[in-house]
């Protein structure tokens, strides 16, 4: 293929200013939030569905793989370009097209930032429930690709429970609508199977999401516990009361130390675990259930319980949790975040085994996690400049995943398989299981030209390609 001519073709579709191909400019597109790297040949910023369609059609004709990219906050290498591939990114398609308060839905372009949508619709007394920790930066198109979660997914479900429909471009450039604006539609639930397909089925160009009313009352509880094990008994106690909080989050001692270094969360020095519980609903139920939650926290051994209802005060309680990942930078330059999920009842036992992995490999592991739905986030701390550090981390991370799977859990709760965990897929799925999944991909993308090399094991170790494959492209 004549790459120069291909670039000209892309420029012809989206305009010269909307194609990036100099290696200096491409640097910021070679990574996402994971540890993998890969330099795209070019990045294209379309402004319309038609442009996306024409770009993908051209790439398909030329045999160039295409990766959709939101804002690069993903944690599994999902947005990393394969060798010779281009990225289609959406900073120019970031408009909230419509907010329909009667139907409680919003129509948005894929580049809209998650928190921007939520902030916008709150003016109408509505909210967008899925709230990934990166919600200040992550885009809705990326949320769909990964089926993103977040703390409040405990009560409200993940992205897939909030997407009504989407317009997508398939690998041959065809524009297809999946789902509908009505809650129920006919045929296979393509919108459902597309959500979480990690960019391998198509590229989303328009999204209809469901909005929920803002609850009358919200109350947040923060419990300080001597250790994670005790805090886990509090989680069980709350669940046993028949309570499903809006959020149920935990951070462990090492994370608390990191948070204390960089913020004024005000945890006591000897805190071994911090548990956050948020209740939402009518004032009456928040009051009634709140008393039960507070009692459960004390009964299970909390050394301190704080509670707040006003938004600013609740925000202070959340500071430590929301700033946790950033705070880890005060302990180590890099972290490798494992997204394993286990049945809730296995949490304490699994965390003990994770601590063993930490000792065995001599790697500090900080835990920040969605305790309510058993979604662990052990962060393996390291310095990638140390020779061999990354290999050791990946090995330890795999062992953590094995622990999760052995406990009846799985590899990833909300971050996706991507490049990072594809070789671990056989831990949970047989070849037959994966073959059925590949049939669906073949139906959407028979040439496998969208985000190839992700999700399924191929025995190929991802080697970072930090230079464009075609150097010296037109100046």
């Amino acid at each position: 293929m004549d790459f120069k001519r291909f670039l000209k073709g892309l420029q012809g579709i989206v305009g010269e200013q909307n194609v990036v191909y100099h290696s200096d400019d491409l640097l910021v597109f070679e990574y996402d939030g994971s540890v993998d790297r890969g330099m795209p040949e070019a990045v294209v910023f379309p402004t319309s569905t038609q442009e996306v369609s024409r770009v993908i059609k051209l790439a398909h004709k030329e045999g160039v793989p295409v990766v959709g990219r939101g804002t690069g906050t993903g944690l599994s290498g999902g947005a990393i370009a394969p060798p010779g591939g281009i990225q289609v990114a959406f900073p120019r398609m970031n408009h909230i097209l419509e907010v329909d308060t009667e139907n409680r839905l919003a129509l948005v372009e894929p580049g809209v930032i998650n928190l921007d949508l939520d902030t916008h619709v709150r003016k109408f007394g509505l909210r967008y429930a899925p709230d990934p920790s990166s919600q200040k930066a992550c885009s809705l198109g990326g949320n769909i690709a990964e089926n993103a979660g977040g703390p409040h997914c405990l009560a409200y479900g993940t992205t897939t429970n909030h997407v009504l429909g989407m317009e997508v471009v398939l690998e041959d450039g065809a524009i297809v609508n999946l789902g509908s604006l009505a809650r129920e539609t006919i045929g296979y639930d393509l919108r459902g199977v597309f959500t979480g397909s990690e960019g391998t089925f198509g590229i989303t160009t328009k999204i209809a999401v469901r909005l929920l009313p803002v609850p009358e009352a919200v109350r947040t509880f923060l419990g300080i516990f001597p250790d994670v094990e005790t805090a886990c008994t509090a989680v069980s106690a709350v669940i046993e009361h028949g309570i499903v909080p809006a959020a149920l989050e935990m951070i462990d001692a090492l994370t608390i130390q990191a948070v204390q270094k960089v913020s004024d969360a005000g945890y006591p020095d000897d805190a071994g675990a911090v548990l956050l519980i948020e209740l939402e609903g009518l004032q009456d139920e928040v009051d009634e259930i709140g008393e039960e939650v507070e009692a459960a926290l004390w009964e299970t051994g909390a050394t301190q319980v704080r509670t707040a209802e006003a938004a600013e005060e609740r925000e202070l309680l959340w500071v430590g949790r929301k700033g946790a990942l950033g705070a880890l930078g005060s302990i180590a330059p890099n972290y490798f975040l494992v997204d394993g999920v286990v049945p809730r009842t296995q949490l304490a036992q699994v965390l003990a085994q994770v601590a063993e992995v930490s000792r065995k490999y001599d790697i500090p592991i900080a835990n920040v996690f969605h305790a309510g739905d058993g979604n662990l986030h052990p962060c393996l701390l390291f310095d990638e400049r140390q020779p061999g550090a990354l290999d050791k981390i990946v090995e330890a991370g795999t062992e953590v995943l094995q622990v999760c799977v052995d406990a009846g859990g799985t590899l990833t709760g909300e971050h996706g398989v991507g490049l990072e965990k594809k070789e671990q897929m056989p831990l949970v799925f047989s070849e037959d299981d994966m073959a059925a999944m590949v049939l669906v991909r073949d139906a959407f993308a028979p040439d496998n030209s969208l985000n190839p090399g992700k999700i399924f094991p191929d025995g190929k170790k991802h080697t970072p390609h930090t230079q464009p494959v075609y150097p010296g492209m037109p100046a």
Partner: protein, 456 residues
Amino acid sequence: MESSLGDQLARLLGGSAVLPGDGHEIDGLTPQAVVRPADRLQVSEVLRWASAEHVSLLPRGGGTRTGLGNVPRKADVVLDLGALDKLVDYQPADMTATVEAGVTLASLQEQLAPGGEFVPLEAALPGRSTVGGILAVGSGGPLSHAYGLPREWLIGIGVVTPQGVATKAGGKVVKNVTGYDLNKLYTGSLGTLGVIVEASFKLLPIDPHDGALLASFPTLADSIAAGRKLLHSSAAPMGCHSITSGVSRRLQDSLQAASQDLGLGEDETALSFAYFSGRAKATGRRLDEAAALLLAEGATAVQRIEGRAAKGMLRWVTDAPSEVSPSSALVIKVSVQSRSSARASAECGEVLLFGEKPEQMADPGFGSIRLFWPEPAESPARGVNNEQPILDAVQKTRQIAHRYEGTAVVERCPLPVKRQIDVWGDAPDSLSVMRQIKDRFDPLGILNPGRFLGGI
């Protein structure tokens, strides 16, 4: 001579697993046999055999919705999954359960109740409806506004492929993005891609208190408008239905049998049903506020029902479509955006069949409207074409649904009409992808051939 399919199956699984197909007619087609595998391995054996012999299989759970779908192209053997009836795993503290596909909804809920939990699936005739059947159909019930559809609660699935290979997707944890979400693909696929043998669900705690309101309104439109207001208030119910008198009088009849009175006046034409559950105090407040709101919106009477009686009323509303359908000439489920439910209901209410307007059950929160046109008062004279009026009513209803960007699924109609239509309606532009999926999963077309959208 080739042996019959029944004989072949008897050799495969033993004679006790095979019944004659007589009496199991589906859309005018009588299957040659009904086979009832004892376990998942036998399901695989049946599918391997069917693939080798190019035999079409119609999977069946409790048989409560076998009328749904187009006339099958072929109906050789009914695959009865009723023997797969075990609760595989239930951990109350994890709020998850794994069950075999043939477990009935009632039985599952009974087994979960001691753990203080339930699965938010809704289906008519729960004593017969099976988990696998509910998933294959994929529909919800009166509380869809709050619970959504079965797709929201399924976290893992075991499926035997048409080739007889046991596969799984998802898992037993409540949050999972490992691999493609085939749970969503199989849910609502009407058994056309594989045979569901096992399912894992996330559960909810049983609320300690239940309450319902029944409000009479002069017109259906008033009832729907009031329902919309209620759903957007702080006293929002879990679900809200507007029901015309032809349906609500049946409710009255069954309640009178239980010495309860709806207090329906002679001139009431519509009833609003709203359901609430939660903690006692909050539920009480919602019931108070909602009753006041309904009265302010023009209700002529509001009855408040709590506890078991409220649950009984919810049961009745859930079962109502299957109660009313058998005496209807035509049943259509229209799905539109919720804000359009009032207008769509009003316009559909003007579609006459044999001179009669349809009875309606409308869910203005979820945006679905079920329309029931009664059988003609007198059976038509010989030679009179009864099909054309029904085809016309279907056509008109579809036009209305399309105007509101919705769909209209024909759930019941006479067989000669069914042979002439796609009961699902006009296919969306994604049909080609759906066909690709079907062709790849079931290239021989042995599972439920022709019953799904676009003849899939």
